[in-house]
Symmetry: D2
């Protein structure tokens, strides 16, 4: 009976446990496969730290956030005990015929390198930011958007009652998917994403327009957004590079600037880790489960070097090489559509 | 300035207000369009019962369930005051240049007939059952799935504590999309949909297997599922056709049959109207908003007889004729995938 | 080291696991007590079916619905293997120094009888209906009210959109606490509880008044409410006692009666088991935890025959005899207050 | 017909709209009272800025967060146009017979001073922190606790997956009620409140113990908690008083200190304004409604200078003077109970 190892690597994400459960149930029921879990991502692979993964171990887990296998940012090439030769020995010793890596861009890049170095690897893409070109959606994104939208709904009632501007900073370092979805869903008066520069003047114009219509303006901002005038604005205040990091994220930088220019009391909230955890949405559980089932099929076919992906409503296979390093930005026309709703 | 009327028709659905708001904001901001709302679906169109729909009227509505315009199952051809000639006069009198019909299959069929009879009509598809071939997803479906999944999560804890079988009946008359999504998401031990016949024997086998593993079995069933042996089973009990409707939906029919055959205490819950109402998910608000914005663009292009649809991540246009009467069933391979998780 | 057994008996309820965890953590940390769990209520006590209950076993369980010990409606006196003499032998054999019974009125009555027959028993009251005179609130009630209110919020949007009357049946066989709380919270136009008779005429007057103000009327009804005219209304239809049970709960009985009299389309929803399960509210977790910690203190004092109860914000002790058989009805002035909001 | 004005003052809070609705419905239905709303707290009273408040104006508002009247921190004595003589003239001119002030300690103190200066004032207490001695609970607190607990549940899954310590800062400047409730509910390994000093050593011991049992430690901290060693710890780093405020709240101060001492990766999240807004829990809506109805009864009795309060399950009346300036701290034995669960 073929035996495979599963690892989850990088930041945790709602839906990881659904992937693990989907893989194990499909594998044991349909293909007669057997599974073990590597603990804490690539660390478990490098040191052969495994735990059993049978039907019982995965029962009921898909509605839990996090990952039952643990995760880490450990890289398989970065330690003396790592590297393909050592890992091959680990797999032989543990009688493991192949490895499923569940993770983000870095995890997939490492999986691809291991695959090219002769390790039988397959992958399941994971990014809460939804910024992977190869797939229409990643699991975890739906949950993050619902949490961010719920937070925005809450902030609006306070903003409206106090006639205050509320700034909500959400995740999205390189791509603004969470911000743009949550911004449209919550009717934000401004949504700022890394892909689309907007000046402080323009932002303040939107804020003022919303306030003039009697609302507490809501500004949704992705953590990766930067303000062109940021440098000038701060040098005016006599703050230098050294002070910048202490000022916190973009939400906390924006709030006083908006308040100063518009005269409207402005408060920032940073959602942070709350977006990553907890009960996944049904959508994320379904996508995770389907990814898990599909990767078990990939194993059954011995289709090494492949990753699963969602295209429309179908799960497809994509080579690692097509997937690694291709960030999916928010397209300009999507942003323009959202922008028509601002102010 | 061009002036358009909007109507919502058929059963209500989370996301309708997002469509209305998206249309009005895009139309007024981008295309300089003006809008009125017809009250209570086609009834408002036939009797010229309108209300103003400006920016103020749609502010903050996308997070509310239902429809601010009211809805009904009134057909535009079914009353003496209806029909294209009367409706043309109404539109002329009210100086309305075109009509957006938001509704399901019946609404779109009527819209198409009106369009063929010379009324400038466009459409936005709506079905909480997600069973429209022309679009990957419809708004409202995501909310319904989350509600059904949450209910299933709750029932499982009771089922497990009492070692009882819990049957949950969800919407889906012709297609089992809500059931299959909520079933996979909640880890149901059996999911039954109209598209896939299963015998009572097979159902009871899954239930028994789950119980033997120490769980309270969870059976998710779409309202449109029917049991091949249902007739026999009931004729054995001396019940005839007359009694059948009084026995309630399929959930209430199944529960005693499962209990009798397996000896496991079984309880049915029918989710009903709770699935249709309340705060929409962010996903449904975004989809509704995008549909609304896109239909305003369709109006601007004078592209009559078209409906908007989601394909992958893109909003596209589809002629009414391509959309009407094409039910999107759950594909057999999707069902087979879910079925591998049963028991 | 003193060793105690815990059992959960009767219908499950959000907060049971918090009680178990609170007891075990307090007992092991503060009093040096040891615990085992009896499986499936009194059945586990009678047959000595136990499982270990240490710190590890209760970790993270307070946010899960149901009970990790299982539950049943088994009575300790009802089987040949039951009765105080047999149970004493079981406790001796298993070296158990006392028993914590967590359950409703029937469970407490049995616990009291066992206590009077010489078994060292203490109790934690549980009733999702909140109808126990001895305590201001019971755990599970808060969760049930939030679920019922959320369902009512959802139904209202549908009722308003369709100008339909929506009837929501919630739990409450002898007392209408869930109905009255959820009714006030959701702004129901009528709330019907077992304690307060209202005629169909009066109900329909409220429904009609609400409809005339343009709302979809919402009727909240506790399962134990009965209609004085029910018999007459049904005998007019030629239905007899035999037919009654097939007609379903009071919600399904009321809906057609309201529709017939008012001419307003009316739909019933029965919330059922969904109210009992799933993630408990923070309030229920806190109350459950405090009850658990307090009962461990009762054990430490050897204060047998006592039950814990909430009075204001304090946890107090009450003898079984004060608690058993005293139903806490909704006071008339509380109902009158709610009634002033009807229509 | 007697006519009264309502104002909401200070920070907004879930349940304010329920109070307004409860007052208006009870007053118009039971006592034949009439109402207007003052806009933005005492500002509206001082400048006679009112809006009508009839049955229609309050329909459906109890499930909305914030306040439909707007709020501010404006004091009635602090501006030249304020003071009792001016306010008396405003009330005469607008034919208003008395004022309901809904607000916190400051609002009640001002209401009392106005009452002593001859203005007919009554009050409804509001503090999301639940720290008012005169009442068992205040509305808004329940919602805040549920939001904080949900956030903690989410953080735990991330903490467990990454073996990280997660610090969650919640509201509570002078009293730790939100922290202690949410901490007990979420099973926090440490809960820190202003009332109970704990050393960094002790905190790190609990964190380490939790980590040794394989958990991601969760630290719940009220914003008002301060660390005895904070000064020393920071002076070691060469930071002075000037730097302190820039370091953010106590959560952000604690996280690096814990990480440094324990060697466990630690991350802080500050929940902030999210706790104040959005859909109120059913409990808060019921309490708000009951407070509103009761204050209308107080008006009917002409019982000036009184405030409503919850004692056990009853609504009672309390003179302003008994209520103002009496903070309700978390009692030591409540904290000790929670502390037994730490680590």
């Amino acid at each position: 009976m073929a035996r495979y190892g599963i690892l989850t690597s990088g930041g945790d994400c709602p839906g990881l446990n659904a992937v693990i459960r989907g893989t194990v149930l499909q594998g044991t029921t349909v293909h007669g496969q057997e599974f073990v879990g590597f603990r804490d991502g690539y660390r478990g692979l490098v040191y052969g730290d495994i735990r059993p993964l049978n039907r019982l171990a995965v029962r009921g887990i898909s509605r839990n956030g996090g990952t039952i296998l643990g995760t880490s940012r450990f890289g398989p090439y970065s330690e003396p005990d790592g590297g393909p030769e050592n890992i091959k020995k680990v797999l032989e010793r543990l009688e493991i015929d192949g490895v499923i890596a569940i993770g983000g861009d870095g995890t997939m890049a490492a999986a691809n390198r291991l695959y090219e170095d002769g390790i039988p690897m397959v992958g399941v893409p994971k990014t809460i930011d939804n910024d992977l070109e190869a797939t229409d959606f990643t699991f975890g994104f739906s949950t993050a958007v619902e949490i961010a939208t719920d937070a925005a709904d809450r902030l609006r009632t306070t903003g409206d009652s106090h006639q205050r501007c509320m700034v909500l900073e959400v995740m999205g370092r390189h791509a603004g998917w969470i911000a743009i979805y949550a911004g449209v869903a919550s009717g934000a008066h401004v949504t700022l994403i890394p892909e689309a520069p907007e000046t402080l003047d323009q932002i303040c114009r939107w804020v003022t327009e919303a306030a003039e219509r009697g609302r507490g303006p809501l500004v949704m901002v992705a953590e990766g957004f930067t303000l062109p005038e940021m440098d000038d604005a701060y040098s005016d205040k006599g703050l230098d590079e050294f002070d910048r990091p202490r000022l916190g994220g973009i939400g906390e930088i924006l709030a006083p600037l908006i308040q100063e220019r518009t005269g409207i009391q402005t408060r920032a909230t940073t959602l942070g880790y709350i977006q990553r955890g907890g009960v996944p949405t049904a959508f994320d559980r379904v996508l995770g489960t389907r990814f898990g089932q599909a990767i078990s099929d990939v194993l059954a076919d011995g289709d090494w070097g492949q990753m699963v992906a969602l295209r429309g409503t179908q799960i497809e296979r994509v080579p690692f090489t097509d997937a690694v390093g291709h960030t999916k930005s928010v397209p300009l026309d999507f942003y323009r559509g959202a922008r028509a709703l601002f102010g």
